[in-house]
């Protein structure tokens, strides 16, 4: 599979503080790649370097096989979409007028506006002036803007951080549709459930370094202790170890028809992050 992003030994130092240290990873074409880490871990710095908004201190990064330092060409910009913390909207204009501008800049027909507003659940609010929108609605308009031209590569920095669960689900469905159409997605988040539901692979970023990188299910398996929780009809919940000892006990309860449910105790990505880094993902 072709790599769309390749990063080798990337480092970024602000003053005497290292924001990124020896970061290396690849993102395959068509993949949704999750970059997970708490605030200040270097996620936004990485996106800014990969989108040509910030120069790295050392290391190599290529996007579409082009060094990121030469990514300011319009032909490249047409292929990407970017949402970061500094993606602004025109406050005095309506949602429609904001999106119309970007339709013209990206040479996209204006009928696409209805499609993207459907994706972010804002079809009823087209004429609303941006200055009157809530934080969540602003975030959805910004996302709609990034979806307009169906980019080959979409960089999303905490795309659902200000959204309620219903609207987050709308955005996730929209992202899945885009991904199915071929958009590669580079997603930063500290929401583990978002990462689990969207990402093929995830990287854990902590203190500017990648601590782990793999598929969520592989990581969960790797960090699982193989134990299971058995809920019995008398209300007890038993944590049983894996292996023959646990199997014998489970068999005992099953054969006497005492079992209500059996769950494997795989850790969540959040649990794994805490285990690896010693801190919560907030």
């Amino acid at each position: 599979m072709e790599n769309i992003i390749e990063v080798k030994s990337l480092a970024k130092i602000f003053g005497n503080k290292a924001a990124l240290e020896d970061v290396s990873f690849q993102v395959e074409k068509g993949e949704t790649f999750g970059f997970l880490g708490p605030s200040g871990s270097g996620k936004t710095t990485t996106i800014k370097i990969l989108t040509g908004q910030l120069l790295q201190t050392s290391g190599d990064a290529t996007v579409f096989n082009l060094p990121v330092t030469s990514l300011n060409k319009p032909s490249y910009r047409k292929r990407i979409g970017v949402i970061t913390d500094n993606s602004g909207l025109y406050q005095r204009l309506s949602i429609y007028d904001n999106l119309k501008l970007y339709c013209d800049l990206y040479d996209v027909p204006t009928k696409r506006i209805d499609e993207v507003l459907e994706m972010v659940n804002l079809t009823e609010d087209t004429k609303k002036v941006v200055s009157k929108l809530s934080k969540g609605m602003l975030q959805r308009v910004t996302l709609a803007r990034a979806f307009l031209h169906e980019p080959e590569l979409l960089f999303l920095d905490e795309p659902t951080s200000a959204l309620d669960p219903v609207n987050s689900k709308h955005i996730h469905d929209g992202l899945r549709k885009l991904n199915e159409k071929g958009t590669t997605i580079f997603l930063t988040t500290h929401d583990m459930s978002e990462a689990e539901s969207l990402c093929k692979r995830v990287a854990f970023l902590h203190k500017g370094k990648i601590q782990l990188l793999d598929e969520p299910k592989v990581l969960r398996r790797q960090f699982s202790d193989s134990s299971v929780t058995v809920e019995l009809k008398d209300g007890r919940e038993l944590n049983l170890p894996g292996g023959s000892k646990g199997a014998n006990e489970i068999y005992k309860y099953l054969s006497t028809d005492q079992v209500v449910s059996i769950h494997s105790n795989e850790p969540t990505l959040g649990d794994i992050f805490v285990e690896v880094t010693g801190r919560e993902l907030v």
């Binding site: 910009r77 500094n86 406050q91 005095r92 007028d97 501008l101 970007y102 800049l105």
Partner: protein, 236 residues
């Protein structure tokens, strides 16, 4: 380097809509008109007085308006959105300058109607004002890019408005203080000299020196603007 008129017009149309709703900026257009109205009530205005109003328009409307438009784009992080779009620097700056240019042209036409200015050679004067407005647009863009906020831009642009809007007031001091002789080369003073020469019967060839100096200011202004714009494409 591509150049898409569609993208230029998209930015222009967006700015027109935005400016229409921005009373703080659009009301500045009234100031030169008020000056022109009062000067227009005086008898026998000299060409220098007519150009006090025109230079004031270039400083207040052209430079200030452009500065505010760019500074607001920076402050609200919308300029970065344009920079990350397929629009090129000429398209972005062209679109953003077109609104200012048109409003400048309208204001100057209204001002000359109010003051009753009828140049001997309207062609030369029009060319000189158009070239001058390009300098003030570049200057406004530069100041807007340097500023972090609209408020900061409003403060930064004040000395610019003072020097270029009222610069002719300092010309008499240039003889007394040689260091001030540099004022003679300012585009606003060159514009007044050119207009006076045209009024005295000079033709296009006679004012090429004045036009050349104004064009040099335009080139310097544009180069500085593009350098700063490119720097602003990157975070520090």
């Amino acid at each position: 380097m591509t150049f898409s008129m569609k993208r230029v017009m998209a930015i222009f149309q967006k700015d027109m809509k935005d400016l229409y709703k921005n009373m703080y900026v659009s009301s500045t257009i009234l100031m030169p008109l008020i000056f022109a109205f009062f000067y227009g009530r005086m008898d026998d205005l000299t060409v220098e007085v007519h150009f006090v109003v025109i230079n004031l328009t270039l400083a207040i409307v052209t430079a200030f308006l452009q500065c505010s438009i760019i500074a607001e784009e920076k402050e609200k992080n919308t300029l970065r959105g344009l920079m990350l779009s397929p629009a090129t620097i000429p398209e972005i700056l062209g679109g953003k300058s077109l609104v200012t240019f048109i409003l400048t042209a309208i204001t100057i036409i209204l001002c000359t109607m109010l003051t009753g200015y009828e140049p001997t050679n309207i062609g030369i004067i029009a060319i000189a004002i158009v070239i001058s407005s390009l300098f003030y647009i570049a200057l406004g863009t530069l100041m807007g890019l340097i500023s972090r906020t609209v408020i900061e831009a409003s403060v930064l642009i004040l000395p610019v408005m003072f020097i270029f809007g009222f610069g002719s007031m300092f010309v008499p001091f240039a003889e007394q203080y040689p260091i001030l002789s540099v004022i003679d080369y300012l585009p606003n003073i060159q514009l007044v000299e050119l207009a006076a020469a045209v009024e005295a019967g000079s033709g296009f060839g006679d004012v090429l020196g004045n036009l050349g100096i104004i064009v040099a200011w335009v080139i310097i202004g544009m180069i500085a603007t593009v350098i700063v714009f490119k720097k602003r494409e990157l975070d520090e």
